[in-house]
């Protein structure tokens, strides 16, 4: 018998409502919920094909222990014995601060809360973080600065179509997130001014009233004084209720977003100081994981620091994240490979699970329950659509057992109890376990915080270096083609082919330099140099080169060790002026 189970999509931060259609243990398809406030009957191609990764056979079905290059399936008991032996060994030799915990925006709020609680109360370590340290955390820190701490609900997808103007940072924040893009189209049809700020691509599209060419680093400077941008754009961006949409994963450093928020908020009329702020992410629970305390404690190290070659970390426990796909530097990869103990609890066989000393199978988001917080600050309940596969155990059970082996106990026996603790401990989430609508298909919107007074930090004037190319290194560590759920779907795997290694450049620039597609060039910056083939892309602006950040070897050769964002204390690559020569 076919069942139609209403739940929430697990690809991105929008949290669309969908039915997962199942027959026994088999996922047959999906259908968007028409009455859901986010999806309203619509999905993106990831959503429509979500059932394919639910059918994947590339799952971790039993615990695995690695001995040298060989991994063997073991029972949970044996895995627990090994985990106990390794963790107690590391703690007795180096102390609890030699252990790090990596939570995940691909886990529910409850599982993240548990993970954080496990780290602090069972392992007594403050080293807790997630891979959003390298893309996502900067945006959240900037927002926290602007909104005095707790984030709550900063925007609304259903009412974005009422915004008088919408500023989009990067063209990917549009069609890649279909319920948001859909509201942008509706706003455009109603006469709203849609303004795109994009430095990597010059693709004009009919719904943009204007395209600003500044990158986020330079945008606030351009918006600071009249004259730098056309007057009508200038006026449009000073209307109360305007939308600001961006992909959090691509924001760094935090100060760039802070400056922009300050400039925009200052210019809004006194009677309506609201912005409809949508902080998108390519992970489903960026907001929730952050709110649940997946960040370092006072004495703790963040993930960038944990994976520093000189850090004291000897053991790392990674939950539901393919770390190797999301690390921005080769030194971190090396450190990860050299750890005394790497534990991975995940669903699919990933590159990281293949180097882990111990692997634990956990259920997919479609196989368990719990809540996730979307980009609007809407907390929604996931419902189990499929039975757990193989011997997978949910984190509550697994962490409870590990805690027991270590002579400690987790304070919770059910997801409901964890939810109760979240609502008692995290003020913004107070309503989630008690409000009558907490179980409704549309979830609960957290309350909206008010922005602080304007921040007076000075905005840097952009540097311009005449005659040189600007090299942009966009953060692509979270690109869809690095997402295991995409790789497990036959259709999506074709839709998101892996990038060809190369530096993207404008075809006219290439002609001027007498370069052909695929030809190798030497790029020199003040930080280093790299030889790489070029890829011609007619959307790349003239005098611009684009190198996706996930080609880390090339990025490191030309941009050195990058910069460290003083607020997130994490690595990012600023734009560089470079020269290019034919080899």
């Amino acid at each position: 018998m076919i069942k139609n189970i209403p739940t929430i999509c697990s690809f991105c931060s929008n949290g669309c409502g969908m039915f997962v259609r199942t027959k026994g243990e088999e996922a047959l398809g999906v259908l968007p919920l028409i009455n859901h406030p986010v999806s309203q009957g619509r999905l993106c191609h990831r959503g429509w094909n979500r059932f394919q990764n639910l059918r994947s056979v590339n799952r971790i079905n039993r615990p695995l222990l690695r001995d040298g290059s060989q991994a063997k399936e073991v029972g949970w008991e044996e895995a627990f014995r090994k985990i106990k032996e390794k963790l107690t060994g590391i703690v007795s030799s180096y102390g609890p601060q030699a252990i790090g915990i990596v939570g995940s925006p691909w886990l529910t709020n409850e599982d993240n809360y548990l993970t954080s609680s496990f780290a602090r109360h069972v392992l007594s370590t403050d080293n807790v973080d997630a891979t959003y340290r390298f893309g996502g955390a900067s945006a959240l820190i900037a927002l926290e600065r602007t909104f005095s701490g707790a984030l709550g609900s900063l925007g609304s997808i259903p009412s974005l179509n009422e915004s008088p103007a919408i500023l989009l940072l990067g063209h990917e924040s549009f069609r890649d997130f279909s319920p948001v893009g859909s509201r942008i189209v509706q706003a455009f049809l109603k006469g709203s001014k849609v303004i795109l700020a994009e430095s990597c691509s010059r693709r004009t599209e009919h719904f943009y009233a204007h395209q600003l060419t500044e990158s986020l680093a330079d945008l606030s400077f351009a918006l600071q004084e009249k004259g730098a941008i056309p007057d009508d754009v200038w006026d449009s961006l000073a209307q109360g209720g305007m939308g600001l949409v961006f992909v959090a994963d691509q924001v760094s450093p935090a100060s760039n977003l802070n400056s922009l928020l300050n400039v925009l908020l200052q210019r809004l009329p006194a009677q309506n100081k609201t912005l409809n702020l949508l902080t998108l992410s390519r992970s489903p629970n960026l907001r929730g994981a952050w709110d649940m305390g997946i960040k370092p404690g006072k004495q703790g190290l963040n993930l960038h620091e944990m994976l520093d070659a000189t850090s004291k970390i000897k053991g790392l426990l990674v939950f539901a994240d393919d770390l190797l796909a999301h690390l921005p530097s080769s030194a971190m990869v090396e450190k990860l490979k050299k750890l005394e103990f790497l534990l991975v609890a995940d669903r699919f066989v990933t590159k990281t699970s293949q180097i882990a000393h111990c692997v634990l199978p956990i259920p997919l988001l479609a196989e368990g329950d719990g809540t996730m917080t979307n980009c609007e600050g809407r907390v929604q309940m996931l419902r189990p659509a499929l039975p757990k596969r193989g011997e997978s155990r949910n984190l509550l059970e697994a962490l409870g057992d590990i805690a027991g082996r270590l002579g400690k106990a987790l304070a919770y026996r059910s997801g409901l109890e964890v939810r109760g603790a979240i609502s008692a401990q995290i003020p913004a989430y107070q309503k989630i376990s008690s409000a009558p609508e907490s179980d409704s298909l549309s979830g609960i919107l957290l309350s909206s915080p008010k922005p602080n007074g304007a921040d007076s930090s000075a905005i840097q004037k952009p540097k311009i270096s005449e005659g040189k190319f600007v090299l942009i290194i966009p953060n692509t560590l979270n690109a869809w083609n690095r997402n295991q759920m995409i790789l497990e779907s036959p259709v999506l795997n074709i839709e998101y082919p892996s990038d060809r290694l190369g530096i993207r450049m404008n075809p006219q620039d290439a002609r001027d330099l007498k370069l052909r597609m695929g030809e190798k060039v030497k790029i020199n910056s003040e930080r280093g140099e790299v030889q790489a083939p070029i890829e011609l892309d007619n959307t790349v602006p003239s005098m611009t080169l684009v190198l996706p950040s996930h080609f880390i070897d090339m990025v490191e050769s030309v941009a050195g060790n990058g910069d460290v964002d003083p607020e997130t204390k994490s690595l990012f690559y600023p734009n560089l002026y470079v020269s290019i020569e034919k080899i």
Binding site: R42, W48, R55, P179
Partner: protein, 366 residues
């Protein structure tokens, strides 16, 4: 064709009798949304009236499921064994399907059964009987009247099993196919002789229904068919429409006429299966070749291709109708607000532009 009257109060009795030999599906609410589900008792009679009720998941799922295992394989000693999954031999009756969806099934029948008979489609289709209900009252997104998809099925021109017409107290029952007659024969005592006045009311209802479509989704189909057939839609219109397409595939998945599928293997430890799933011409990977070259890399080109297949005369001639039945599901599904009626309207609005085929100004055609 046979015509009868069936008292609405007798419908549950008839369904009960049908259930003895068939699985019966009817529209029902699942968390507030309508699906064809195994019929419950008492049936949701409010979904079986003359007002159009379209489950969002199109009934093509009965014959062409969103995902369907074609065969499984496993290693046995030296040999690899193949097994085609069995399906229930019991017949299925779908009650409460609408005229547009029956037109969609007829289109599917042509695609999957004309010339080459698709084994998986045919074995499901042969087991299926449809009892449709004519729409006395179209709803918000309906435009079947522009596509010959409804609101009533014409016994002379449309293929169907049984069509019910809601006459308030009774249904007028029009039974056309052998499969339909079999269902009537299960309870002949419930089917009363029809009257000339019932036929008259039926025709009046059909006429009234035809006049109650809303202006917004109803479309100048013939205009779009001509412009697409003669390739005179300005390319910039396709580019613009393509920019509004999100490549999500939603329109193709909910379309009762879209029949494209992809196939994939799932295999682990010497056993696995081969399955097919709904695919979409919206997707860039749909036409991309192994070399990496994509003949329709631009979205506007894919968009144009989709509507060419739906509306060009070449296909109308081959398939007997346009590839749209006017159910309006694509209006609900499209994040870019370019469902069929919006596209047809955009093409109509572009009429003052150059005629790209003849190279002559267009005014004379206007």
């Amino acid at each position: 064709m046979d015509t009868y009257l069936l008292k609405k109060t007798d419908l549950p009795r008839w369904v009960e009798l049908i259930q003895k030999s068939y699985d019966v599906f009817a529209p029902s609410r699942v968390h507030g949304e309508v699906f064809f589900s195994p019929i419950s008792f008492p049936p949701d009679l409010d979904l079986l009236t003359g007002t159009a009720t379209l489950p969002y998941l199109p009934p093509k799922d009965f014959v062409f499921p969103q995902a369907e295992e074609l065969f499984s394989f496993f290693q046995q000693g030296e040999q690899v064994k193949l097994e085609v999954p069995k399906i229930s031999g019991r017949g299925t009756v779908v009650l409460g399907i609408r005229s547009c969806d029956i037109s969609g099934i007829s289109w599917m029948d042509k695609f999957y059964q004309e010339n080459f008979k698709d084994f998986y489609y045919t074995r499901r289709r042969e087991n299926l009987t449809f009892i449709s209900i004519a729409c006395n009252q179209p709803v918000k997104n309906c435009f079947c009247v522009c596509c010959e998809g409804g609101p009533f099925l014409d016994p002379e021109h449309n293929e169907f099993d049984i069509q019910l017409v809601d006459l308030k107290e009774n249904y007028l029952v029009e039974s056309k196919s052998e499969k339909g007659k079999k269902l009537i024969a299960l309870a002949p005592e419930l089917f009363l002789q029809s009257t000339p006045s019932a036929k008259e009311i039926r025709d009046q209802l059909e006429e009234k229904s035809r006049r109650s479509f809303l202006t917004e989704p109803t479309s100048y189909m013939s205009f779009a068919i001509r412009r697409i057939t003669e390739n005179s839609v300005p390319p910039e219109v396709w580019t613009e429409l393509g920019e509004r397409c999100f490549d999500d595939g939603g329109c193709t998945f909910v379309c009762p006429c879209c029949s494209c599928f992809g196939v994939a293997y799932l295999s682990e430890g010497g056993k696995g299966c081969h399955y097919r799933f709904w695919d979409s011409c919206d997707y860039s990977g749909f036409t991309r070749e192994v070399s990496g070259h994509n003949p329709r890399a631009e979205k506007g080109e894919r968009f144009k291709r989709r509507f060419y297949h739906k509306l060009s005369y070449q296909y109308v001639k081959r398939d007997g109708r346009i590839g749209c039945v006017g159910c309006g599901r694509c209006i609900t599904a499209c994040p870019g607000e370019v469902g069929m009626p919006a596209v047809v309207e955009r093409i109509r609005n572009a009429k003052a532009q150059r005629n790209y085929q003849s190279g002559k100004p267009e005014e004379s055609l206007g």
